[in-house]
Symmetry: C2
Subunit: 765 residues, 2 copies
Amino acid sequence: MSFEIFSFEIISLIIAILGLIFAALIALGIKRAASGPEEAQKISSYIREGAMAFLAKEYRILIVFVVVVAIILGFSAIGWRVALSFVIGAIFSVLAGNIGIRIATMSNAKTAWAAKQDLYKGLKIAFSSGSVMGLTVVCLGLLGVSALYLIFKDPQIIYGFGFGASSIALFARVGGGIYTKAADIGADLVGKIEKGIPEDDPRNPAVIADNVGDNVGDVAGMGADLFESYVDSIIAAMVLGVGVITLFGEGAVTLPLLLAASGIIASLLGNVVIKLIKKGDPYIILNKGIFIAAILMAVGSFFVVKYATSGGLNIFYALLTGLVSGIIIGLVTEYYTSAIRRPTQGVALSSETGAATNIISGLSLGMMSTVVPILVVCGAIYVSYSFASIYGIAIAAVGMLSTLGITLAADTYGPVADNAAGIAEMAHLGEEVRKRCEELDAVGNTTAAVGKGFAIGSAALTALVLSVSFSQIVGLRSIDILEPKVMIGVFIGGMLPFIFCSLSMQAVGKAAFGMVQEVRRQFKEIKGLIEGKVKPDYAKCVEISTAAALKEMVIPGLLAILIPVVIGFTLGAEALGGLLAGAIVTGFLMAVMMANAGGAWDNAKKYIEAGNLGGKGSETHKAAIVGDTVGDPFKDTAGPSLNILIKLMSIVALIIAPLLIVSPPKLKQPLQIPFEFRSPVTGPSQFKGPAAPPPSKDQKQTLRGILDISSQMIEFQVGDKVYEVIGPTPQALRGEGFKEKEEAEVTGVVSEDTIYAQSVITVDH
Amino acid sequence: MSFEIFSFEIISLIIAILGLIFAALIALGIKRAASGPEEAQKISSYIREGAMAFLAKEYRILIVFVVVVAIILGFSAIGWRVALSFVIGAIFSVLAGNIGIRIATMSNAKTAWAAKQDLYKGLKIAFSSGSVMGLTVVCLGLLGVSALYLIFKDPQIIYGFGFGASSIALFARVGGGIYTKAADIGADLVGKIEKGIPEDDPRNPAVIADNVGDNVGDVAGMGADLFESYVDSIIAAMVLGVGVITLFGEGAVTLPLLLAASGIIASLLGNVVIKLIKKGDPYIILNKGIFIAAILMAVGSFFVVKYATSGGLNIFYALLTGLVSGIIIGLVTEYYTSAIRRPTQGVALSSETGAATNIISGLSLGMMSTVVPILVVCGAIYVSYSFASIYGIAIAAVGMLSTLGITLAADTYGPVADNAAGIAEMAHLGEEVRKRCEELDAVGNTTAAVGKGFAIGSAALTALVLSVSFSQIVGLRSIDILEPKVMIGVFIGGMLPFIFCSLSMQAVGKAAFGMVQEVRRQFKEIKGLIEGKVKPDYAKCVEISTAAALKEMVIPGLLAILIPVVIGFTLGAEALGGLLAGAIVTGFLMAVMMANAGGAWDNAKKYIEAGNLGGKGSETHKAAIVGDTVGDPFKDTAGPSLNILIKLMSIVALIIAPLLIVSPPKLKQPLQIPFEFRSPVTGPSQFKGPAAPPPSKDQKQTLRGILDISSQMIEFQVGDKVYEVIGPTPQALRGEGFKEKEEAEVTGVVSEDTIYAQSVITVDH
């Protein structure tokens, strides 16, 4: 080993800080870029103010929520350290989102203005702002986890950090998702359809709210979602690493930090590559950066695993599984939702026979698109488990998210380009700028769709790892579906995504209804508005969207937090495990289905608008608009909210796990080790345990303590610690003349709370 | 005990035959009723011929399928007895469907004609034809199971009968579902929308195919679906009954037959009640009959359980759970899909803002409507399990389906009334008759919706019981989700309903496309058709629908059969158990969602057509039509097909179970019984096993045989039979001086292949 293993957390801490400095430098570069004409700056500032107004209102609710939960955690048996981690997690997530939105809303006008010069200049500014967001998310995440590990030295405590991140994600993703679609539908329904004015027209009172929505939903929401997945996967891998120290060395616990740090470096290099390319299709440029980062990560992690751990390259293979799976899921999403591919063109074609066939065809595509992601996740589970057991699955999740620094940059690029296109229109920057911005926007739509697929895949894998970690912490040997309680848990868990989707889609409907009424009111009451002589009251629309979004997310949010608690304390830990499994399976399926159906409807409409199948204004186009409108809450509200649901439920289960402990944690399948009993009465026993290869010498220990065979299992107390002895039975030891309780020496493999005994000898008789 | 318990199967056999005779008498009564004018008779005969054409073509494929599968089963380790049962199950299901369609297509014109006299006369004829179908299904089902039990005396063999029923259900439900919607959409799209002629207009070439579809889908399809659930639940309860003989007496095995027979009698009496009522709302009349049958069943089963079994009333309570659950699920379905309730009116209201909001609102309703059915099924599992363990869950399923004789009659009534309305229109029987028939049809829509909810609930419970039975037969002690293979099984299982829905909705699209082209062709090429001078070529449309339906069901059908086999033989029995669990959970959720969303869209449209929210022809109405069209494949093809998917997969697993056996079947949790060892060497042992109340004396047995302690478990051979001895460990017995293999006497509770030992004594030493 060439690393000093105890310093993994310090290395990662330093890299995280360096990454943040790098992000700050990029931000500085954007700040220095030209902002363009005053009109564009003014619109950009409206959007920023609107977004900040949403955040400010959100924070007011958040503070109450965070303080209340922290007090409950701190004063319960869960303890103040988890509470503190929770608060820090919440603050870091808020910080990442806030920085992301500030940069995104600073960059939109600059992107439009830069595109006036040159397409690639625009691309660079928009992507730079994405990079700031991407790097901020991963570096703050890694910083928080590393620092908390340095302080507490116990990864389990850091689940509090993950819970903090989850809570913010709930507000940002669910609230943001409702906000963005309410504003979008409100703006379109009255502006485009009733008044016949074009999209992004400054006369539309909801136009700023619509642009704010892109930032609130796709920047802050997506960022908080992936921040949560990122830190959760690292923490889970650390917790599960404790159990495999004997296999992979002590480095197993902090290795995930080092791998994440490697991912940050790989992402930074990928970033540089994108900055250096000056020609070609913007989409291919972005993809090149992402692929190069992935390859660098693969190479880097090979050396990290090889030199920082014992146990060979198994961990590396597990990581690779995750890295590759993430890329495949992204590609499949692209295949199903891209306007140049057969599936989406099929949806467009089905619009020729009307809205109904368009809907059926989109739903059918969404359902079918679950196949590859599900099989990829199953494959990842199988392969990574076979390489490194449950720890391997956690490492696969870390691998999938390792290059988040650059994948999230590509996602965040989308809304910035979208906003830039809007500003180009509203500030009358000219046809050419508008066109270039739209070209950048189109690329952004694809990266956003891919990003959604990736977010779902990583959320599912993260939630799965969290659930496994939960069952280990509460000491479940198994979660047996044949137990009626577990089956009930699976059924109820499976149902939750359906309720959650139903509630969030209804929420969009209600919020949009309020918005429609306000926009109609303004057009009616504000004289000269439709003629373009007077400005509408943008702030009022922002306010309505904000209030509605935050109100409507309360019930789904409470459901996600309370149901695991209720099931855990009534039906028990095993049923709660079933609940999580059920929720993960249907949540994953529904999320993929909704995201891809939504993406396909969106792009089918765009395909027709590009002049195919009758083009804009045709009956076919009208039918496609119906699908697109249904797809909006699918892909931007209900679908993404499911990522939050499954992770939040899992982390809530983990937080309450200490209150649900079933029995001391132990391995499911006792190792089969030959053992012999010796007692002064009978001498060495003539019989041995089941034959199995003896464990290697360095894992064996001999402990002296008090052996207790009075109950059904053999307990062995060494100082303050009580182990369960596996191998002999109490009856057999009694048969050998052991007393119910006496001093003894046990030799065997010691693993957490269990000793797999090779011999048991009474000390004095 | 006042019954001679060995005659349960004979009693039920006799009742089944009596029920069939009763059904024949009702059929005779219908046959004698007046058929009305020649025009009506002719149309009715077209429909019958079309339905028979579909059946004939289906049978040609079926025969090949059944013969091939029977040969595979017969020549494999599964054996000829299962193969024979399979063939008989297929024949009986075909018979039930064939009789049902014959009666339904005989009754449609008679219903219309009777309605000319009097609404109630029409109701009676339509319901009578439903009764024939309902009674035929339950009596043939009970007859088959009882007879096979009399022959083979082994309920496990009879799963072959269930597999036969499942295979037919696949063809009838999936094929029928595709048929009915292809014809419906084809008729509506060209006739109503393109040509502007009314529904059921005889000039429409697809009109007969559309009416045939109602029979093929809603009579034969629904019948085969419920026939399968009915026989599967009875067989599963019998198989699980073997395991609880010690608790409830030997009657536990054949009790399900007796309970089913009681249900037939209760259904018959309910039938009589409906016939006797001569005024009031038809919907309430039907419901009265159903409720009275349920109450009679409850009372009857109380006495049956009390006098035919030992173990008190626990089995009765379990049965009651199922009976009540079925009724609640029906009521909830009615609540969500009825035009007079708030949810469906909400969908209608949302149509005011266009097709997109109508779709979102319907999907949202469908998702939310899963809550109560899921909770009811969970409650049923919990309560029935707590009363009578796994056997209790099976009995709950039997209870839910016990009054199928009358609930299915109410379902089948629907398509007959629907056809009658069509015939009244086509044969120009006058406005009043048409109106009365439409009133009867409206009631039929509600009963059909309720029937769908009931079919889904019972399918889920049946599939669940089948899966549990599967895991017992292969000897799984648990299905542990924490095992990656099981998790993979759950994921893939959860995905299957999504693929299945996607495929079946696409199939409808493709089949409908072919139909649309044919109808357009006829309107174009047949001169004088639109003027009503020439008859269209009905048969050609029937042919197209038939061919398309049977072709398109091949892939989903193969998936349902092959995937369990593939998973079972690659990932093993436990993963297959996970697969089934995943499929049942998402299958149930999706089926409920699709059925209720479809029902709500349908009735929202009807609500608007009744003059609300702008009425027929308004923009709101147009938006509602989009929802209705999306809902058609939801509620009549994809949704119901999921019932088949989950049951078929479970029964396939059961059929291949003998090839997947993990270890000899045993109870999961060994009973804790005090035991003592005695061997000539050490004398009576000084230690006893864990304390627990000793079992009652009559359950204890003393057996003499060869005791083998050489492996990890203690085997005890008595004659040809080998038991596992639970209580002492091999080590402990060795410690007592037992030899590795010697003659011994074991006293304890004997259960299937296991002895829970109270003492073990060597015989000679």
